[in-house]
């Protein structure tokens, strides 16, 4: 690829990303009332999206090879338990991550 072709490719990636981010705001401008269906989606989608993102993070974990997803499972339980116990975001995240690093570096 020439430099110009590289620049065009990068511009396409920028354009694609910005389209997905700006489109809802362009379709439903703040000045006009948002359709009820869209407002409904706005209230129920986030909970589903957080589930989707969690699965997205774990998409490459293989249950049948390597460590069978055991370090991931243990560490997620640690994160959830810490969070339900203390409800301190940073503590839950740090605790789970340290647990995961120890497991993948020393145990599995």
């Amino acid at each position: 690829m020439t430099l110009t072709q590289q620049l065009i490719t990068i511009l396409m990636v920028i354009l694609g990303t910005m389209l997905t981010r700006f489109l809802p705001f362009l379709l439903f401008p703040a000045g006009k009332p948002t359709p009820k269906y869209i407002r409904y989606l706005g209230t129920v989608l986030p909970a589903a999206v957080f589930g989707l993102l969690e699965v997205y993070c774990l998409k490459d974990v293989s249950l049948f090879t390597g460590s069978h997803g055991i370090p991931e499972l243990i560490s997620i339980v640690v994160v959830a338990a810490l969070h339900l116990w203390k409800r301190q975001m940073l503590l839950s995240i740090a605790g789970g991550t340290v647990c995961y690093m120890l497991l993948v570096q020393l145990v599995f």
Binding site: T9, P24, T34, L41, L52, V79, M89
Partner: protein, 231 residues
């Protein structure tokens, strides 16, 4: 006003700091070993600010020139931002000029924090969300540039540090769960995503999963609104 918002926003971004300098550096190193100078990750992390798209962009740059493919791939990969936008329509209202930057920087992490954070009543919402986005953007830029410059020199055992992002999404999922009265949508999101992951594989599942979530939530609109899910 800005000081207060900054102080409230910063703690929420600490896990992103850990995650982004690591992931950003991985990205910078990846670009470095793929033969690109540090200018590429530096400028791309600044202008694209969507982690997964930037990793894919490396492959696009290494392949044959095909701008349409680059656009379609990015649209598919980032289609989930449409859901974020729909959810943030109200929350970004009245944020003035900052709204443009808030939308520009609405990556998974910025969205998740800005949607779920309990912003104290005496803190300006617009500035809070602005600083969350700005800090995340800076962490990513900082990591990517560092990786691009020092790519081949860095050797220490960070294996598993990327789990920090998974852990953060577990916490965000839990926070949303504790706030919601009913959990239909959360369970649908998890269940349908897992089903689609099994059916379509890790490379292809995102779009079918989003379509399934959208479809089922649309079908369930009446009972969900009655049941108080959409309150």
């Amino acid at each position: 006003m800005k000081r207060k918002a900054w102080k409230a926003a910063f703690p929420y971004t600490i896990p992103i700091f850990a995650g982004f300098w690591f992931l950003g550096m991985t990205y910078g190193i990846y670009m470095h070993v793929s033969g690109f100078s540090f200018w590429y990750p530096m400028l791309m992390s600044l202008t694209i600010f969507a982690g997964s798209a930037e990793f894919v962009a490396v492959n696009l740059l290494l392949g044959a020139f095909n701008p349409l493919q680059a656009l379609v791939m990015t649209l598919m990969l980032n289609a989930r931002h449409l859901f974020y936008g729909i959810s943030m329509l109200d929350k970004f209202k009245g944020t003035g000029w900052k709204k443009f930057y808030l939308i520009f920087g609405m990556c998974d992490e910025s969205f998740s924090i800005n949607y779920t954070a309990d912003i104290p009543a005496d803190v300006d919402r617009g500035w809070f969300m602005f600083f969350v986005t700005l800090l995340n953007h800076f962490y990513w830029f900082f990591g990517a540039t560092l990786g691009g410059v020092f790519g081949s020199l860095i050797h220490f055992n960070t294996e598993g540090l990327d789990f920090v992002m998974t852990a953060m999404f577990v916490v965000i999922f839990l926070e949303q769960w504790l706030k919601d009265k009913t959990h239909t949508s959360a369970l649908l999101g998890l269940g349908l995503s897992v089903l689609c992951l099994i059916a379509f594989g890790s490379e292809q599942f995102l779009i079918p999963a989003m379509a399934a979530i959208l479809g089922v939530l649309t079908l369930l609109r009446k009972p969900m609104e009655k049941g108080g899910d959409a309150a």
